[in-house]
Amino acid sequence: MSVRPPLLRGLVPLVPLLLFLTVFFIYPVSRMLLLGFSGGASAFARYHELWATGLYRHVLAETFRISVTVTVACLLLGYPVAYTLATAPPRRANLLLILVITPFWISVLARSFTWMVLLQRAGVVNQLLLALHVVRAPVPLVYNLLGVYIGMVHILLPFMILSLYAVMRGIDPSLLRAAGNLGASEWQAFRRVFFPLSLPGVAAGSLMLFVVGLGFFITPALLGGGKVTTVAMLIEAYIHQAFDWGLASALALVLLVATVLVFVAYNRVLNLDRMFGIR
């Protein structure tokens, strides 16, 4: 029987990190969130104000909708890439991996601006479409929801690919060979062996993308043309244009709580613990 070390002693290596987080993260964020409860007639005045203006409900719903759509799109586009990465011979896999990671070296801001230039009416993409006679007039690809989707998928796709790849790499190829020996076709082997084993990666990647997507600010601000408003953009507007930090803070807390609720629901439905083998 193994002797487990006392709980407290096991936590000692974490103390420096916990101190750092407390001073530079927990304390400032708490003070910021407390702002949402001050300055009004009552502690919950800001929240009443948010509820009263249908704006925040509309923006919250739109933010969730965008995040879900982008997550699904990244899943559909990223799964085949991750599959290729996981099943390719090592040298090719390394090369492909470098290609997937390279975009991380360019800032989100630079990439978003580049999309603005590429997708505009006189931009390269439209010029190509016109030259190939696919369309007769320039297509509005940016300064709208489509532009936001394109930009966000482009930025979040590497995260999804890497999440899926991390799990797919752990799938034992001999399992697939065994399935083939037992009479399964390649497609059957994929559907009944590989795919179920890759689901933890799908779940983790989707959750991460969804949560990150909820906080997106720069890409929708630049590519949305003012027609797309996400919660992060609204918080920024309350701080910069309306100078109402209390309202911004209240909205930030609402977003935080909504995200946590989503995570809890996700956990319940998909039973993440069991999927990851945590007993």
Binding site: M116, A221, L234, A237, F243, D244
Partner: protein, 376 residues
């Protein structure tokens, strides 16, 4: 000083670079200046009472609006100022009231000299967040009334106007002239862009709805928002920074735009297929302000004093068409350049001045409605 007005003008032209050294010497001699005195003329010119005080050390951090506007300011003011005084000028950022409030309240003021809109200055001054302008070293006797305040001297008079693409609306055909035209999709089908700010979108909406120019203030906010809501679908792009105006017009992203007259004029002058009208345009005065607790307050005041010089203002206006505070500057500009300014007499008569005092009192409330309008 002992030199007469015509000699002064010749010295100014040489100083500005309008005439070369040989021409300067020739004209000075023609005006009766003795040959021996010529080398000393420029030094004497530079060391006049206001000028002697501007020598200094260190740096001053200027916050202005970027793009070709900031480039013109650099050429006309900041570079000559640096050469003359030895004070280094660092140009940065985009002015932002929220940032200034945060900076002053945390006593970490990064900007010494900020190009602020009128209502920004009034609001910040009212809340005690600005240093008072030091008029003991700033010479304000030639400044046009309304272009200086207790908080600072005027930077530029800028305007908002209706611009369009001449490719889509050539001079041979119909061209938009009023804000009612801007919001008329039948007569002017095309894509539109507006500045994502309530100033002066509300005024333009009221004008489009039929309110006469002289009856705009106090603004009927409800009526303005109703009009805007009814026409919101027409607007394809709400841009956040005025530096996007050239991108939108050059990229042919939109055919009609509510933009700043300075940038539209700049585009037109540089040959882009863009035109605009002064009709029903709005003009406003912006001011240089010094946030309270600025690290280089003295240098900022020296730069403010430098900013009133007519010859530099004339040069700036020729690089970027904006109204300037010093009345003498208008006489120093070529007539063609003066005609491009929003405050030139032939242009200002078509426009209206935005009431900064009304906006300073109402901006907070209107902004929330604006956010709800754009976000919905």
């Amino acid at each position: 000083m002992g030199t007469d007005r015509r000699v002064d003008e010749v010295i100014e032209q040489y100083y500005l670079g309008t005439i070369g050294r040989r021409e300067f010497v020739r004209r000075a001699l023609l005006l009766g200046v003795s040959a021996a005195a010529i080398p000393g003329l420029v030094v004497e010119f530079l060391s006049g009472p206001a000028r002697a005080q501007t020598k200094g050390t260190g740096e001053v951090v200027v916050c202005t609006w970027g793009g070709s506007y900031a480039d013109a300011q650099k050429k006309a003011f900041f570079d000559p100022f640096e050469q003359e005084t030895g004070i280094r000028v660092r140009v940065t950022g985009i002015p932002d009231v929220a940032k200034i409030r945060a900076m002053v309240s945390t006593n970490n003021v990064e900007w010494d000299f900020v190009d602020a809109e009128g209502e920004m200055m009034i609001a910040l001054g009212h809340d005690g967040l600005l240093e008072r302008a030091d008029y003991s070293i700033i010479d304000r006797k030639d400044l046009i009334p309304g272009t200086w305040s207790e908080w600072g001297v005027g930077s530029v008079a800028y305007g908002y106007a209706l611009g369009w693409s001449t490719k889509v609306y050539p001079p041979t055909g119909r061209q938009p002239r009023t804000w009612a035209d801007f919001f008329n999709a039948k007569r002017f089908p095309g894509r539109r862009a507006m500045y994502n700010e309530p100033i002066p979108a509300l005024e333009f909406a009221l004008l489009a709805d039929g309110v006469p120019k002289n009856k705009l203030y106090p603004l009927d906010v409800t009526r303005a928002f109703n009009y805007l809501k009814a026409h919101k679908a027409m607007v394809d792009v709400w841009y956040k920074q005025t530096t996007q105006i050239p991108t939108l017009m050059r990229g042919q992203e939109v055919d009609l735009i509510e933009g700043t007259s300075g940038r539209l004029s700049d585009l037109k002058q540089s040959g882009a297929p863009v035109d605009f009208t002064w009709n029903q345009g709005a003009w406003l005065q912006s001011y240089w302000i010094v946030p309270k607790g600025a690290k280089n307050r003295e240098n900022a005041m020296k730069l403010m004093a430098y900013y009133t010089r007519p010859q530099n203002e004339a040069k700036f206006a020729s690089l970027f068409a904006s109204g300037v505070p010093n009345a003498k500057a208008y006489g120093l500009m070529p007539k063609a350049a003066a005609a491009l300014l929003p405050t030139a007499p032939q242009n200002v008569v078509h426009q209206f001045q935005v009431d900064s005092a009304w906006w300073a009192a109402n901006l907070a409330a209107v902004t929330k409605q604006w956010l709800a309008f754009v976000g919905s």
